[in-house]
Point group: C2
Chain length 514, copies 2
C-alpha cells in the first residue's frame, strides 16, 4: 500500500503546476480535460464486472476490484465483512482535518437482457447520444487522453446507479495526486454491495464499525442530479414502512345471487376502510399523522420555496387531470409523511371475473416517513384509526372462532422499515456544503430539505450521528433500475467537480469525543 | 313414432289398474316403485353422452337422443335450430287443456377430470352414499325392476344439473302410459343446450318460435330443492348486469416517494368511489336504486316470512362475524336489487408489491336485478351517482387530452345482461302450482317469490308472456358445476312425483288469442 503511494507521488508530482496546489477544483478540471478517455475506460472496466445484488461471488469480485482501485490512489482500503455482501472501506488524507465520509453502492438491479438494446448489460456500449434521441454506437473507444463528446452516453447496468460516482471519486483522487494537491479534508469511503437488495446489513455494519466510520459529514453520492444540471443537495431521505391490510369475508367465495345482499363483502369493506384514510385531495385523515414530524426550519422552508419546480410540466407529462395536495408544490408535499395505496386485490377483474362475493381483500400500503417519524409510531396510528372504524385488528391469520365472533376483522402486518434521516439546512455544515457546491460555478445549487424517496440516511444521522447530504451527479434520464441504463459522460465529468467541491467543503470539525 | 306409441300402449295397458286412471300421482308412484332400476338405467345412459356447453357436435348428439326419448313416450318432438346449440321441443297431450311448458337444459359445465373421484365424468358411477359421507362404489347396476336404496348416488357431470329432471319427466310419461292415464294438461317441453354458456340463443329462439312455445305456465326444472326436501317453488329469477369501472392515475406507475403526495392515486380514488356506493350495513346508497322495483304482494311477503330460513347456521358455516342487511333474512334481502363488488385490482399485492403510485385501478361489479328493473336503468343510476361524486364518466379508453383535462375520470363499461322475471304469488296460476305441490304429501311447499340467482325467467315472463315458476328436484349437496357432481336417487324418485304434480296442476287456461 505504501509502495503505491510512493509510486503515485513519484510519477505525479513533476506534472503538477505549483499554482494548482492551492486549488483542488482547478486540479480536477485540468486533469479531467487531459484524461477524458482514461476516465471513461476506468468506468467501462468497472462496469464489466457483473454486480446483481445478492449474487455474492460476483459482488465480492467487485469489492476486491474496489479495494484495488482505492489502493491505486494511495488510500488505505479494506473489506468490512457484514456476514453477507461485503462493504468496502477506504481512507485518505490528514486525520487532523475535518472528516467527510462518502457513501456509494456498487451493486446493481437484476436485468432482463432481452429488453436491452445491447447483447450484454455488462459489456458497456458507447453511443453518440441517448437511444431515444437516435444515438448510434461508437465503435472505437477513445484513447486515454482523447477528449470525449459530453453528450456521449455509456450504456451498462449500474452506469449511473451507482458506479459513476465511485469512478468520479477515484478520478478526483488521481487529479489531486497528479497535481500534488493534498486532499482538502480527511476523506473516508464506504461502498455498499447490498443497496438494491434493501441495505439489510448497513445499519448493523455501521454499529459494528462505528469508530472506523466516524466523520463530520456523510455525503451520499447516488441518484440523479436536478434536470437543470445545477449542483443538487438533498439534506434528508425519507424512511419507509410497508403495511398489508387483509379484510375477511366468508371462508370461501359465495354465489353473489344467493348471498350477495347478506354476506358482507370484504372488498367493499376494504374500500370503505381505505376511503376513511384519505380525503378528496389526498390529505391523510389518520389522526396525528403529522404529529411527530420535526418542523422544517426557516431555511428548509426557503429552500423549498426557491426550488425550481416543474410541477405543471410533470402533470402534463404524466397526463394527470389534477394533482393532490391542495396547492402545495410536489417538493413541499413530499416533505410530509405519506400514505400510499400501492396495490389492491380481491378476486378477479377482466375475463376471469365471476359472480361471487369475495372471501378476502388485500391492500398494500407504503408509508413514507419524515424526520421525527418512526415506523412503529406511524403504523400504530394507522392501526388505531382502523380500530376507530369499528374493526378488530389482528396481526396473524384469524382462526374460525375469531372470524365467527368478530363483526369487522382486519389483519394488519407490516414490514420492518426504517426511519427518515435529515440534517436541517440552517446548520453550519449544511451551509458549508451549499457554499462548496456554489463554488463550482456550475449554477446556483438546488437545495432540498428531504428527498421524496427513502434511503438509509438514518444510518448516518441516527446511528453514526453525522450530518448528512445526498449529492447526486448523473443525468435524470439514466433509466435507473430499468433496461438501457446509461450515464451521460458530460455528467460524469461535471460530477468530478461537484464531488470534488463536496470533498473540499469547509465544514467544521467536531471536537474529539472523550 | 306411431309404432312406438302403439308398442308402449300394447305392453303397458294390461298392467294399468283402472283406479289409477283417475290419479296421475298414484300412477307415478306405482310405476316408479316397480321400475327403479330402469329409471336409474335411463339416467345412466343419458349421462354417458358428453355434453360440455359449446361443443356443438356433442351437444347435437344429446339433442338427437332427446328427440328419441320424447318420441319413445309418444310425444311429438323436433329440434329447433338456433344457429348454434339446438333447442329440443316436445309436445304431448290434449291441446284443448291448459298448456304447461317444462324447461330443462341438457348441456353441462366443463370438467377437470383429474379432480374427480372417477375416471371419466361421463362414465357414471353409482355409490352407496355421498363420497364425503364415505360412500363406496356399487359394482353391480340394479336390474330394471330392482328397488334402489334412495341414499345411493349417481356420480356424473350433469347428474343433477340438469339431466335428472329431464329423465324424471320422461319416466313420468312412462308411468302415465303404463297406467293408461292421459296427461292431465297439455304438456310442452323445451330442452336447452346452451344454458351453461349463458343461454345466448334462448331469447331469440323464444321470439322465433313464439307460437310453438305458447303456454299457460312455464315450469323451469333446474337447481336444487330446499335442504328439507320439501317441494319448492321459486316464482322468479333475478336479472343481471356486469359493470366494470376503471379509474385513471398517471399514464405509468410513478415512484411513490417522489410523487406519492402529489400524483392522485387511482386505487385510493376507486376505493373512495366504491365506498360512496354502499353503507356500513351493505345498503346501496346509489339514489333511486330500488325505485323501479315492483313491490312484493302481500302473498309474496307472507311467503318470505314463512320461509324456513337457516341464516344463523349459514353464518356459522361461512364463518361470518356479522351479516349485512340490518336484520332482514337472506331471502328477504335477495328480493331486492343488489350491487356486488366481485373483483378489484390495482398493481400488486404480496411479494410483488412495489413502492409505486398505480397507473390504473379496476373494479368489477355485478348488479342483480329484480322485477321492474332493467339493466339499462340500473347502470344509468350508477353512472349518475358516479358523476355526482365529481367524476366524468366515459365509455371508451380516454385519450391523452381527456386525461389531462379531466380532474376525475372513470371509464364505465357494462355487459348486456338481462332483466328479472317474476310471477306474483297471489295469481291464481301460482296458487294452483302451490296447491299441486302440496298434494304430493311431501311436506308443506317452500315458496319463494324470487330466487337469488339470475336466469332467463324473463324469456318466459316477458317475451313469451307466461306465468313462471322454478320447481327443482335434486339434492342441494349435488356439487353442481364442480367435480363429483351427483344426484341422490331418492331425490330423483321424489322428483317424479313433484314434477308429476306440477304437470297435473289445475291452472287456468288463458283465452285463445285472436
Amino acid at each position: 500500500m505504501k509502495r503505491w503511494i510512493g509510486y503515485l507521488w513519484a510519477v505525479s508530482a513533476p506534472a503538477a503546476a505549483p499554482l494548482l496546489a492551492q486549488d483542488p477544483l482547478a486540479a480536477i478540471r485540468t486533469y479531467r480535460d487531459a484524461h477524458q478517455g482514461a476516465i471513461v475506460a476506468e468506468l467501462r472496466d468497472f462496469l464489466s464486472l457483473t454486480n446483481v445484488a445478492g449474487n455474492l461471488p460476483n459482488i465480492r469480485r467487485n469489492a476486491e476490484a474496489l479495494v484495488a482501485m482505492l489502493e491505486q490512489r494511495g488510500a488505505k482500503a479494506q473489506i468490512l465483512e457484514t456476514g453477507a455482501e461485503p462493504v468496502v472501506f477506504g481512507e485518505i488524507g490528514d486525520p487532523s482535518k475535518p472528516t467527510i465520509l462518502f457513501y456509494c453502492h456498487y451493486d446493481g438491479q437484476p436485468v432482463n437482457p432481452a429488453s436491452w438494446q445491447q447483447t450484454d448489460p455488462w459489456q458497456p456500449v458507447l453511443r453518440t447520444k441517448a437511444i431515444e434521441a437516435g444515438g448510434t454506437v461508437v465503435a472505437q473507444w477513445p484513447g486515454a487522453s482523447d477528449t470525449v463528446n459530453p453528450d456521449w452516453r455509456l450504456y451498462a447496468r449500474s452506469a449511473s446507479d451507482d458506479k459513476s460516482p465511485i469512478v468520479a471519486l477515484m478520478q478526483m483522487l488521481d487529479a489531486w495526486n497528479a497535481a500534488g494537491v493534498a486532499p482538502p479534508n480527511h476523506l473516508k469511503f464506504i461502498f455498499e454491495g447490498d443497496e438494491e437488495a434493501g441495505s439489510q446489513y448497513l445499519a448493523e455494519t455501521a454499529r459494528r464499525y462505528r469508530d472506523l466510520l466516524r466523520a463530520d459529514l456523510a455525503v451520499m453520492a447516488d441518484g440523479p442530479i436536478h434536470e437543470s444540471g445545477r449542483p443538487s443537495a438533498f439534506f434528508g431521505l425519507r424512511g419507509i414502512a410497508g403495511v398489508t391490510l387483509t379484510v375477511y369475508g366468508p371462508i370461501r367465495p359465495l354465489h353473489s345471487g344467493h348471498y350477495g345482499n347478506w354476506a358482507p363483502n370484504p372488498a367493499m369493506r376494504l374500500a370503505q376502510l381505505l376511503a376513511s384514510m384519505k380525503g378528496p385531495s389526498g390529505e391523510v385523515l389518520v389522526p396525528g399523522w403529522e404529529d411527530d414530524m420535526i418542523p422544517l426550519s426557516d431555511a428548509d422552508q426557503r429552500a423549498l420555496a426557491e426550488f425550481p419546480h416543474d410541477d405543471e410540466q410533470q402533470r402534463l407529462q404524466f397526463q394527470l387531470g389534477a394533482v393532490d395536495g391542495r396547492g402545495g408544490t410536489r417538493h413541499q408535499l413530499i416533505a410530509h409523511p405519506s400514505l400510499n395505496l400501492r396495490g389492491m386485490r380481491s378476486l378477479f377483474v377482466g375475463p376471469e371475473a365471476r359472480t361471487l362475493v369475495p372471501d378476502v381483500a388485500v391492500a398494500e400500503l407504503d408509508l413514507r416517513l419524515v424526520a421525527g417519524n418512526t415506523p412503529e409510531r406511524q403504523v400504530e396510528k394507522l392501526g388505531r384509526h382502523i380500530e376507530r372504524q369499528g374493526y378488530t385488528v389482528v396481526r396473524e391469520d384469524p382462526d374460525s372462532a375469531t372470524r365467527v365472533n368478530t363483526p369487522r376483522l382486519v389483519k394488519l402486518t407490516w414490514s420492518e422499515g426504517y426511519p427518515a434521516g435529515r440534517t436541517p439546512i440552517d446548520q453550519p455544515v449544511a451551509q458549508a456544503v451549499i457554499e462548496a457546491l456554489r463554488s463550482t460555478g456550475l449554477g446556483a445549487p438546488v437545495v432540498v430539505p428531504t428527498m421524496g424517496g427513502s434511503g438509509p440516511a438514518y444510518v448516518f444521522t441516527d446511528i453514526l450521528q453525522q450530518p448528512f447530504v445526498v449529492i447526486p451527479i448523473v443525468n435524470h434520464d439514466n433509466n435507473q433500475h430499468a433496461e438501457n441504463e446509461n450515464v451521460r459522460l458530460g455528467h460524469l465529468f461535471r460530477g468530478m467537480e461537484i464531488l470534488g467541491a463536496a470533498a473540499s467543503a469547509k465544514i467544521p470539525k467536531a471536537p474529539a469525543t472523550p
